[in-house]
């Protein structure tokens, strides 16, 4: 619920001032790179020969439809997003719920949860590379029940799921902390009222917690999706897009196209594909998860 504050001059100048710092940073540092990278999509550009840059119109875009690597990368990336985002979100919510209330050593648990996020992606990817190797921890553990010995990252069928599992592991704690922080905004009265009405765990979840968390759930979904569409470092370190391109992702393909093939123009249209996909998804989610306190506050 937004007020009619924009009617008053004081309100309007306040808004302008509030948005000014962001606008300055954006204007100074992002407008140029955005325009430049957008223009690249219609050009043939090679950093080693900037003078030879020339217009190619829609040729780069047309190429998307004939590039089997792009098709594979698109498919893998979508699989990655669909396979990790919902799982991570649900697990993060679950873990945050576990943290509610009085628990001995809660700070310790919160810190423990957060540990994967602290490490750089490169380090995590390298560790998991060893973890998944034949003779690595996972196979040794499975060997106890007689199942070990599989090359998780060298089997085209299991490489992508292995990377996805790692991503879920790395992300859950982070989003759990965000959900946990959002719990703080839920007024106690709502819970008290629910208790008075005899609501059990799941009922309270459905009618108090989840509706109040809608904005945050929306946030987590959007952020996680945007991030997942750009999965790159993990596959670069662990599989380089292999085997047989089964872990090729859009940003990896972009990276190869730009920095190894020196074809920045085509790389740009791949980048904007990611941008458009993220954008569509974000718009849809943001629209659907409008402010919740006016509508979903249970009996508030």
């Amino acid at each position: 619920m937004r007020s009619n504050r924009n009617k008053s001059g004081a309100g309007r100048s306040a808004v302008t001032l509030f948005l000014l710092p962001w606008a300055v940073v954006y204007g100074a540092f992002f407008v140029f790179p955005f325009l430049f990278s957008f223009a690249l999509g219609f050009l043939s550009y090679n950093p080693l020969n900037v003078a030879g840059t020339h217009w190619v119109g829609a040729a780069n875009i047309a190429r998307l439809f004939h590039d089997p690597d792009f098709a594979q990368a698109l498919r893998n990336t979508i699989l990655f997003v669909v396979g990790t985002v919902p799982v991570t979100t649900v697990l993060a919510l679950g873990v945050a719920l576990l943290l509610r209330g009085r628990i001995p050593g809660k700070d310790f648990f919160k810190a423990g949860l957060f540990l994967p996020s602290i490490l750089s992606v490169v380090v995590i990817s390298l560790l998991f590379k060893l973890f998944y190797a034949p003779g690595g921890a996972l196979n040794r553990a499975l060997g106890v029940v007689g199942l070990g010995g599989h090359g998780w990252l060298t089997d085209p069928g299991t490489a992508l799921p292995a990377v996805m599992a790692m991503d879920v592991w790395a992300a859950v704690g982070y989003y759990a902390v965000i959900f946990y922080a959002a719990f703080a905004a839920i007024p106690d009265e709502l819970y008290e009222a629910a208790e008075l009405e005899g609501a059990g765990f799941f009922a309270t979840l459905r009618h108090v917690t989840l509706p109040m968390l809608r904005p945050t759930i929306g946030f987590v979904l959007v952020i996680n999706t945007i991030r997942s569409f750009q999965v790159f470092v993990e596959v670069l370190v662990m599989t380089q897009g292999g085997p047989l391109g089964s872990t090729n992702t859009l940003v990896l393909h972009l990276y190869e196209t730009a920095f190894r093939r020196l074809d920045y123009g085509y790389a740009s249209v791949i980048a904007y594909t990611v941008f458009v996909l993220s954008g569509i998804f974000s718009i849809v989610v943001i629209r659907r998860l409008r402010p919740g306190y006016a509508t979903g506050g249970g009996g508030a």
Partner: protein, 418 residues
Amino acid sequence: MNRRSRQAIVAVAAVLSVAMALSSPGCGRKDERKTIRFWQFWDIAVIRPMVEQFEAEHKDIRVEVEQLTWKSGLEKIQAALASGTQPDLCELGSTWVPRFSYEGVLEDLTALYEVEADSFLMWDSAIWKGRVYGLPWVQGSRALFYNRDLFRRAGLDPDRPPTTWAELLDAASRIDALSPDIYGFGQNLGERYVLYKKFMAFAWGNGGVILDGEGKVRIAEAPTREALEFYLELSKFSLKEKQEVLDHHFKTGKLGMQISGAWNLGNYAIEAPGLDYGVALVPKPAADRGVHASFAGAEMLVVFKGSPVRDDSVELARFLRQYQRAKALSLAAGSVFPASRLALEDTTFTRDPKLRVFMEQALTSYTAPAHPGWIEMEEVINRTVEEVLYGRRAPRWCLESAAEEIEKIASKFEKQPE
């Protein structure tokens, strides 16, 4: 605006001002010397003394050295070129020099080549259309590592490593049969940039060629096909995994043989001191034909065109490539050898039997074709080997598709830019 917000803004401004005051290193100092900007990939602790000695010998020159990471260094070079702020002297891998030469961003160093041609190895990648654009600095080839212990257990003579493909196959199959968790040979799979290096050793050894002197694509011809078919045969007794896994198995005595580089000599000494292993030349097709070929990579020094200190940069390059310095770098890095032919007779490298093999191997090692499209072609070959090892398609068809793709790539570079 109230007090709190004013305080906040003042605080932020103060922090930013401090940052500004602390920034711009070296500003305000007037330096009359010429500056050479030198970008390279090695540990700066090793390079700096060399550079300082150069400065001592050339009092009018200052050298700014920057160390690049192997992973992202090339991106930085590209960004610098795009904005016209590229360094004067730069280190480039031999697989990249042809592309940079083709694009015309490198200074022509043919005059230096004419003087040095016979004293250095690894010139091929530096030559484009008859002119020379790079100066070999250090090089490294790949050789056959084999576990002598496993050889003994398999009934093979540890002092007679395989010298032909047949012997290699035989040794691999015997070692592989020793136990379910012991493998005969190590083949890289599941990662990209390495595959072609291991396979091409066999192709080149059999006289196979990717592109010939006239630029014709010959990869689908018999010699390479035979090599790929042999490689596929060998895979039956191989551990097909990523390099880390291969190394781990070799160090723990579970892998009989693998083709790898000199950096392992140092690694194995530290991480597997009890390992009884030997090094040999890569086997050739048969006793009476073929070559003990292998892959070699070289690091080259190039000067970017338009550098205001071109001659001084060339002088610095010459200085760094002088034998004692290239040797110091090689010993510090442990993974390469000087590109100078003097290394071939240096007892430091010839006394140790394992190092001597690497020196010998360097003489019959091949670098990737000096073609500007090589980076893309390399990808095609990697994919081809992958497809064959995963059993997706037979070698013949894979190679024919590869030939078509490589031709397409080559045709993109037919016209000179500008």
